[in-house]
């Protein structure tokens, strides 16, 4: 069967089981958009290429399947660089197709030419520049294989326009051998010696902690984690990337560690004698000052990527493995720690003394952002998916929302990409139309990518957006207040400009606003009744509210600052 390169590309996507592509056409990718009309694949036309990338990420994080985005060359390609970088930092499986100028024009500074494979070399797991139409099936199959196996990540496929227009004889690789990837071996031999040493360390431990990262979600290890944790009674912390991997409602869950982590989670790591680190990379937001992080702990480090071993913290045992496989093996080996009663008693005392708290709203004052999140969460259906942007609202969402299911928390962790929330929520809703999707956003983040609500409205994707509008770039403001002597430099945004309600309405969404607790409950109830169009709520929140607990950047986790309400008892 003779096909054009363009037809072969779309057919290859169909063969990979792709049901949705997020994209925006342009000159170099034009030939590929023609067969889109004849395909079963749903194409979602975004308003900015960054939106396409974040939607694909949201789709991937919510479903576990790779997200797919397609854009044109030059500025189309550079506009999607941020999502690619974001997906790289968070190991999100993504396949990005970019149009490229015709082969003969490459290197001539042609119109809308850019070296996107060069630009994305450091932020993709791998990328391809297709040089022959006959190779399209192999490259697409390789891209999906690379994106989804081993440590997942983004893969970019750059397709020159002339190749999209060239005839090829259709074929498709039937096996991994046909992919021609001699340097790629995602499967690793399970190291039974390392397992035995891990079991020994667990058996000897008196203050162990299961330090769970995003790898636990990538490897679908939720069941194995629950089984292992319950059998061993070891306390669990879940990093920002792992929220939902272990139920927040579970008695053994201490919550999130790190810069804005729960006091008990941060301190349990500090006082631990053994960290069982599962698919986590000792990020600086978790460790604080590395030299004083968990100083008494031995480390078992389980990761599919061996380059994470000993990168930040030297491990006593390294086990290169999928987290689910490693947990099953540790469970089968009946690894069990010493009696943990004393350890748990200590942990319970921290939990009791330093719970998550915030000030009651002043009678005349603005809303507390934490109260808004709690109110939305209380009224949300079980399994509701929550996305967020980056900043204070993100930390509060992670702290105050109860995540009891995997893939219900969609956020930008490693890269910290402001503006991630709205498009990611759209992608999540496309992937999981059966679920309610809330985006907890900040006013600064919302302004970066809000135009994608036009996409959401026109494509019939009814997400709900809660803007915690404190009129500031809140996290930067918090740092300026705490560490720059309250010298507020370029952080004021205004609560009224733009008018978020009018903006929402102009984009075809329902726009609501709440200034008081009564209004807050009212608009949340109304938002929950609307299921056909996107809803945007402008919650006017207190500017002075800060995220606590907090470990200052570069400080030791031992110097965690708790909320002022709790400081009376702190030494």
């Amino acid at each position: 069967m003779q096909l054009t390169g363009a037809q072969a590309l779309i057919k290859s996507l169909e063969r990979e089981g792709v049901d949705t592509v997020f994209g925006l056409p342009g000159g170099a990718i034009l030939p590929v958009y023609d067969p889109v009309l004849d395909s079963s694949i749903r194409h979602i036309l975004v308003r900015h290429e960054q939106g396409a990338g974040h939607m694909a990420e949201g789709y991937a994080l919510a479903t576990g399947k790779p997200g797919v985005a397609m854009v044109t060359s030059g500025p189309g390609a550079t506009n999607i660089v941020t999502p690619i970088g974001n997906a790289y930092m968070d190991s999100t499986p993504l396949v990005v197709i970019t149009g490229q100028v015709a082969t003969a024009s490459i290197g001539t500074d042609a119109f809308q030419e850019c070296d996107i494979t060069g630009i994305t070399m450091g932020i993709t797991k791998h990328n391809f520049l297709i040089t022959s139409a006959q190779e399209i099936p192999r490259v697409v199959a390789s891209a999906f294989y690379l994106a989804t196996t081993g440590r997942p990540g983004p893969v970019l496929v750059d397709l020159p326009k002339d190749i999209a227009q060239t005839q090829m004889e259709w074929w498709y690789p039937e096996s991994i051998e046909e992919l021609d990837l001699p340097g790629y071996r995602p499967e690793v031999d399970f190291d039974t010696h390392a397992l035995a040493r891990a079991v020994e360390l667990i058996s000897a431990s008196e203050r162990p902690v299961l330090y769970v990262g995003g790898g636990a979600l990538k490897s679908n290890a939720t069941r194995e984690l629950l089984a292992f944790a319950e059998r061993t009674q070891i306390p669990v912390v879940t990093t920002l990337m792992a929220r939902g991997a272990f139920p927040d409602s579970h008695d053994q869950h201490l919550g999130m560690p790190g810069m804005h982590g729960m006091y008990s989670a941060v301190t349990a790591l500090q006082k631990s004698d053994l960290l069982i680190s599962l698919g986590t990379r000792f990020d600086d937001r978790v460790t604080g000052k590395v030299s004083s992080f968990a100083p008494h702990a031995k480390i078992i480090h389980v990761d599919i990527d061996r380059a994470e071993f000993n990168k930040v913290r030297r491990a006593d045992v390294t086990l290169q493995s999928n987290v689910a496989v490693a947990l099953r093996a540790m469970d089968d080996a009946l690894a069990i720690p010493q009696n943990l009663d004393v350890w748990w008693k200590e942990i319970r005392s921290w939990q009791e003394r330093y719970p998550l708290v915030y000030d009651e709203p002043a009678p005349e004052g603005l809303l507390r952002p934490q109260a808004v999140i709690e109110a939305i969460a209380r009224s949300a259906a079980p399994g509701t998916i929550v996305s967020s942007g980056v900043g204070q609202h993100q930390m509060w969402a992670s702290q105050f929302w109860q995540f009891d299911e995997p893939r219900t928390w969609i956020n930008s962790g490693g890269a910290g990409t402001m503006g991630f929330g709205v498009p990611a929520a759209i992608g999540a809703k496309v992937g999981r139309p059966d679920r309610t999707v809330w985006c907890i956003d900040g006013d600064g983040c919302f302004q970066m990518t809000a135009q994608e609500l036009v996409t959401a409205r026109s494509e019939g994707i009814p997400i709900k957006v809660a803007i915690l509008n404190n009129a500031y770039l809140g996290m930067v403001r918090q740092w300026q207040e705490m560490f720059y002597e309250e010298r507020y430099s370029e952080v004021y945004l205004s609560a009224d400009l733009p008018d978020y309600v009018k903006w929402a309405e102009a984009m075809g969404c329902v726009g609501l606003r709440a200034r008081t607790p009564a209004e807050m409950h009212d608009v949340i109830a109304r938002a929950n009744e609307i299921n056909d169009v996107p809803v945007v709520i402008d919650f006017r929140t207190d500017t002075s509210e800060k995220v606590f607990p907090m470990v200052a950047a570069g400080a030791s986790n031992d110097d965690i600052m708790v909320h002022p309400l709790l400081r009376g008892g702190q030494a």
């Binding site: 060069g118 340097g183 990527d305 380059a307 000993n310």
Partner: protein, 179 residues
């Protein structure tokens, strides 16, 4: 870890250098991927040599002398191994490796210095590969240390144009190389 890759001048090979013999797919951009990885991770390259490998058009062998003080060798190898086009990495500790490189130098001469240059050439095992009335080009294929020694000797002759290839290496016979 230094933020910039170290590409400046050094007097001699760093003490903690390691030789990575890296088999890569012979595809466009592979060298850029390797160089880019070293640059963004802050790993220092001391020297680098590339050539088609083992009769295959499909693979090339890249011999990289890395500074194992700029980053732990385990990190360098682990990150390098993640490059999809990297097929195999052999780590050669200096004591287990047979290392050679090639040095070419054009040395200005006059009647009085001609004999001195010939003397140095003979003493160091180099050979004369080109001659003109005003200069002579010498070549040495030898250990990096021998090339260093010749380079030092030639400094005395003033304006010397000198090029070195960077080293290539194989494991010493009978030695175990670790992957």
């Amino acid at each position: 870890m230094s933020p910039e890759p170290f590409l400046g001048e050094v007097d001699a090979a760093p003490v903690h250098h390691h030789i990575l013999s890296v088999l890569v797919e012979n595809k466009a951009g592979v060298l850029a991927r390797i160089a880019g990885l070293f640059a963004r991770r802050g790993f220092n390259i001391y020297s680098l040599a590339v050539a088609p490998s083992e009769g295959h058009a499909r693979f090339s062998r890249v011999t990289i002398v890395v500074d194992a003080q700029s980053a732990p060798l385990e990190q360098i190898v682990g990150q390098l191994d993640k490059l999809v086009n990297v097929v195999e990495i052999t780590d050669l500790a200096p004591q287990d490796a047979l290392e050679r490189e090639l040095l070419l130098a054009s040395v200005p001469i006059d009647e009085t210095r001609r004999a001195d240059v010939l003397g140095v050439t003979a003493r160091t095992g180099a050979s004369i590969v080109d001659v003109s009335p005003v200069s002579v080009t010498v070549m040495l294929a030898g250990t990096p240390e021998a090339c260093d020694a010749l380079e030092r000797e030639l400094e005395a002759f003033g304006d010397v144009a000198l090029q070195r290839t960077g080293r290539v290496a194989l494991p010493r016979l009978g030695q175990m190389a670790s992957a």
